[in-house]
Symmetry: C2
Subunit: 334 residues, 2 copies
């Protein structure tokens, strides 16, 4: 049976293009003992994947040129050699970008389609949700009445961060890049203020107005000048979970700007980088709490679903143009 | 009775000069109820005082122009109106730069001259010692076999940091600015390696050689390019107590350089600013432990004592030229 996969054609310099990717026809492999064969249904594209395209030490190993890219994928079992997975079951895992995937069953987690739509296993009930949960609660530790700022607020992680911060009683200020996003965050998700970084004339002034009591927690998704502006408002004892630096991922030069150290020093502030796997031991607890909040309607989610395996590169590139409201997902099959 | 005091003559732009300071004759005030009159014996000059010369929000309130500067001072009681302090007792406190000081007794702590020389109340058994103790142990948390790098290693804080890290079983690499300092740190204090930042041709290469297993803890006293170089060696889970930024204090422009955020993100590293007063509740515990280590000879100390109240400005300015090995103190009277 024919299969199709997406390879890393070349390591991008700066912003990736469609030339970064290469489609290739291949064959479906029959599953061996302990393996299952999946049909890919939903494929996740995430900003962190840009880092993996560089041949550099990073928090996850680099993708290899002429090898399939990989990431979060939801699939349906087509053939199984193991007892605990049956044909028709839904699963999620870190998997290669292929239409059909033959993989060891131990690398998969089963999804219950009755809890929430299966695509949420790539978003609010998956890696982005857990990233928001642990980064905000373990590092940010927002307290009632404090001010939490989140950049990339309309992204898959940012919108969960803001909603958890609201659950904890904080004032929540988002930074996002379109009026549509701002309206959604304020009206649907209850953000107190959202600043449009693309249209603001003076982000420092707008932030100051939105944060009259300063900033206690800054959940950092974007980096660059936006973050420099937030740093000017840190309160004594501020906490800064460093989750991403999307504005920096495509830079070809070293990211130069005002050093943050003085701001941290002046405010006894804490800044900590993390990746979700730092909390792997606690994923069960996080999933349980996120599932409860979603089922109670305390956490809402948005997905930006693009149709077609052929549109995976465009969906990925769109992340860096700020096109997605919520989790960017590609629907590969029904 | 005649008295003499040192005022802030003007706020310095960039590096302070002798014009920053102004001597003034004044009168000794008789102590009122609850007050004591002290003779100043030892006066501390510290890098952090530079920040207080700016009229800017910082971690301590700014000095005022035409008012006496102040800081750590050890004095001898000349007159007392309170029972628990007698003439001849030694005390330490944050006090104005005067030869004779009239002050409320509640602002003073008594020193036992039998434990250690009274000048150590300004150094290893005072603010710098406590700064090293809490910054390293609470934020840095060095573990046996880890690599701890400390900049400003031959300063009052740095040399205590290195020795505590050795007590905890870490490999200790210092950064300092003269061969005399390097010899002292290696031969007297047991540092494993010390790099001369003034003579090195390639600090990154030298650091890499001195830290073959990377850097787990970086105790940051200086900032700037030295710190950028250390950051390139951070290990996964590195901790960076931010204590000072002496290379930055006299800058007239914003401190621009490679943003540290990516380094922290890639390594799930933690960076935290602090000042010693963040740990005020635990000073008793810290003093007890430091006193034990000093009396056991596990922590040695060095003092750079300059004679004469007239030399206070020069002693302060010398801090920024890297002149002091250990705690810089001015001896004002016998």
């Amino acid at each position: 049976m024919k299969n199709e996969q997406i390879l890393l054609a070349e390591r991008p310099k700066g912003m990736p293009t469609t030339d970064t990717f290469k489609y290739e026809e291949t064959e479906v492999k029959a599953p061996k003992e302990g393996e299952v064969l999946l049909q890919t249904l939903y494929l996740s594209v995430d900003p962190y994947m840009r880092s993996r395209m560089n041949d550099a030490k990073s928090y996850v190993p680099p993708f290899q040129v002429n090898e399939p890219l990989n990431g979060g994928i939801v699939g349906r079992v087509e053939e199984s050699t193991v007892d605990h997975l049956q044909k028709g079951d839904y699963v999620v895992g870190y998997l290669p970008w292929k239409r059909h995937i033959t993989v060891k069953a131990k690398h998969l987690q089963k999804i219950d389609p009755n809890v929430a739509p299966i695509s949420t296993a790539l978003g609010v009930l998956g890696m982005p949700g857990l990233t928001a949960y642990f980064g905000l609660l373990d590092i940010g530790q927002p307290k009632e009445g404090e001010t939490v700022v989140v950049s990339g607020a309309a992204g898959a992680v940012g919108m969960v961060v803001g909603q958890i911060a609201k659950i904890k009683g904080a004032r929540v200020v988002g930074i996002a890049g379109s009026e549509e996003k701002i309206q959604y965050l304020k009206e649907e998700l209850g953000f107190d203020e959202v600043i449009n970084y693309k249209t603001t004339e003076n982000i420092r002034a707008d932030l100051k107005k939105a944060c009259p009591d300063g900033v206690d927690v800054y959940f950092e998704n974007v980096g660059g000048e936006i973050s420099d502006a937030v740093a000017s408002l840190f309160n004594k004892g501020a906490r800064i979970p460093l989750c991403g630096q999307i504005s920096m991922y495509n830079l070809e030069k070293v990211d130069v700007g005002p050093r943050i150290q003085t701001r941290l020093l002046m405010n006894s502030a804490l800044m900590k980088g993390f990746i979700v796997n730092d909390y792997a031991e606690h994923f069960g607890e996080g999933m349980k709490q996120l599932g409860e909040w979603v089922s109670q309607g305390k956490i809402k989610y948005a997905e930006n679903i693009v149709d077609g395996f052929e549109n995976v590169p465009d969906a990925f590139l769109g992340l860096f143009k700020g096109e997605n409201l919520g989790k960017q997902i590609v629907k590969v099959a029904e």
